[in-house]
Symmetry: C2
Subunit: 341 residues, 2 copies
């Protein structure tokens, strides 16, 4: 994976400060991979699978348990909690606008939403199924899924782990929150942002946040940082590093095993960031204003004053978009027979 | 509480066998108590509270976790699972059509939906909050709930445990599944039931199931059994009793402490029973056909043959109604600050 070091960040920051940032509105649709076109039927199936707790060993945890689409697409917990109260070391990232991520998971260990969807179902501390085969076997016991997979994917054995992942990914590609105050501002409605939010927007660029949080989803998906893993903390000489244990998790190093990648991370979207406290890969920082101070200090060496951090938080509030109305899915029945939960 | 003994059941069964059962369709609305009229705004608030996992100690369990409105209103588990994988001894009853129950919980320890709604949030093995005050304090931290409780209930301190329970109960009163094949049949559409289902309906009456499972929701809410707690197992000399540990839980005795009430239970609705496996208060019986055999034997002393039990199961399938389309609620945000989960 491409990796931008601290020096490069410094250069980019200077450049971004000197020129106007490249502000972009969020697209209202996300492109789908060629082998998984988005269709209404597939999205409908995906929404059921996403919300179905029968995909977990105990029948109590669905994708939605940690990535709550009724909320900010996460669980508002420091670290995600799977079956039987088990926890790992990372905070659930939002599923909203995840279609615009160049890689998935905090450490980028999945390249696509399709790959990502096959992870948590078989993760011991998440949904806890023993294997994808076990997931497939369970889905196959549900007559409604038999019919619906057949309709969407065809073929003799339509229920497969890949097709399950495709349906979930297709649903996730519809989870987009356009028309935030920021988007309306960028499109020309100059009253969409308050004066404070406009100051915050300017400071967000000046301080250098845009060096990584660029592009329509503020997740570095254009320019030099596209798809890159960024060092966090970039400057380890801050009290925040010990306070919030920011170096405890090696991040993308776990995937690449390259020393250069130690403590590097996917740049997370800032869309709807006001809804997804607590913050960072380990969920250690409880509030958005503290998160802004930590980032300024550890990434850019900046000590924000009270007014600046409040302005930036006000701007980040303006990244909360419009959540599409969703119909609550009906999950196909177990048909008079229970699973062995 | 009224209690009907075995002898009375016997008499009632004979009477029901001799005459046509009093078949009733499910009403499309449920009456609300005078102090909690159902309004659209209250129902909307209630649906959010019902689906909000922040009402639990870990932020992972909502009312919907065990009473899944996207499914049969339960969790398809033998016994419910609350926070941290904790379990009690009872299976989650369906929330669908619970508005038509004369009492709530398996053992009838709550008289109303309003009373019921205050139980699980503070039950150690369910949502695990320490007190209703703690629940209220948490809701009060969420600006969107502040505004919405104010709009619905008014007053200086609109967020109270009673108002929370009222909103949840109002939402639950909308969870009604009319127009099952059975309902259409009873209303005159003689083609709504198959020949097998019609045979099953007749046998359901003849065998004596209607003695307890009477009324529009098949939960004994009319005639002699209205609001009564019924002995289960009524006849303890069956192999099923030991096999499924049917006498281990004293049921309503725990509430009344009267020896007469040992192993008596609320008569559960049979509406949508095909969707709510496994069966009985302890969820010990995995399939509906076995549940039918157990009930016939332990309650009515009848050994059903294969054809009879299949016919009755076919009839019970015809009690699956139409689930109203629901909008997925948007949960009000935690607003840039996390709870201490």
């Amino acid at each position: 994976m491409k990796h931008i070091d601290l020096f490069a960040i410094g250069l980019l920051t200077a450049a971004q400060s000197a020129f106007a940032a490249d502000w972009q509105a969020l697209p209202s649709t996300a492109p789908a991979p060629r082998d998984n076109p988005t269709t209404a039927a597939k999205v409908a199936l995906g929404s059921k699978l996403f919300l179905d707790p029968r995909l977990s060993a105990t029948g109590t945890v669905s994708c939605n348990s940690c990535h709550n689409v009724m909320a900010g697409g996460d669980d508002n917990r420091p670290v995600a909690m799977g079956i039987l109260g088990k926890t790992g070391g990372r905070s659930a990232p939002t599923v909203w606008n995840s279609a615009f991520n160049a890689t998935q998971f905090w450490d980028g260990r999945a390249a696509t939403l399709e790959d990502q969807a096959k992870g948590p179902v078989v993760a011991d501390v998440e949904m806890g199924m023993h294997s994808l085969d076990e997931v497939v076997a369970r889905l196959a016991q549900i007559p409604g899924y038999q019919a619906e997979f057949k309709q969407v994917f065809g073929g003799a054995q339509p229920i497969t782990a890949d097709n399950m992942a495709k349906a979930i990914a297709a649903y996730e590609r519809t989870l987009i929150t356009p028309n935030s105050p920021y988007d309306r501002y960028v499109k020309g409605d100059k009253k969409a942002l308050t004066a404070q939010q406009q100051r915050g927007m300017q400071k967000f660029a000046e301080v250098g946040c845009v060096a990584c949080h660029s592009g329509p989803a503020f997740n570095g998906q254009n320019g030099a940082s596209a798809g890159a893993f960024m060092k966090f903390p970039a400057m380890a000489d801050s009290d925040y590093v010990a306070k919030y244990k920011l170096t405890a998790d090696p991040g993308h190093y776990n995937v690449s095993k390259r020393e250069d990648d130690r403590n590097t991370w996917k740049v997370p979207t800032l869309r709807n960031v006001a809804l997804t406290a607590p913050y960072f890969h380990n969920g250690a920082v409880p509030s958005l204003d503290e998160a802004v101070r930590v980032m300024a200090k550890t990434q850019l060496g900046a000590d924000l004053n009270e007014a600046d951090s409040k302005d930036i938080v006000a701007f980040l509030d303006a990244l909360t978009g419009e959540f599409p109305t969703q119909k609550m899915p009906r999950l196909p029945a177990t048909a008079g027979k229970s699973f062995a939960f």
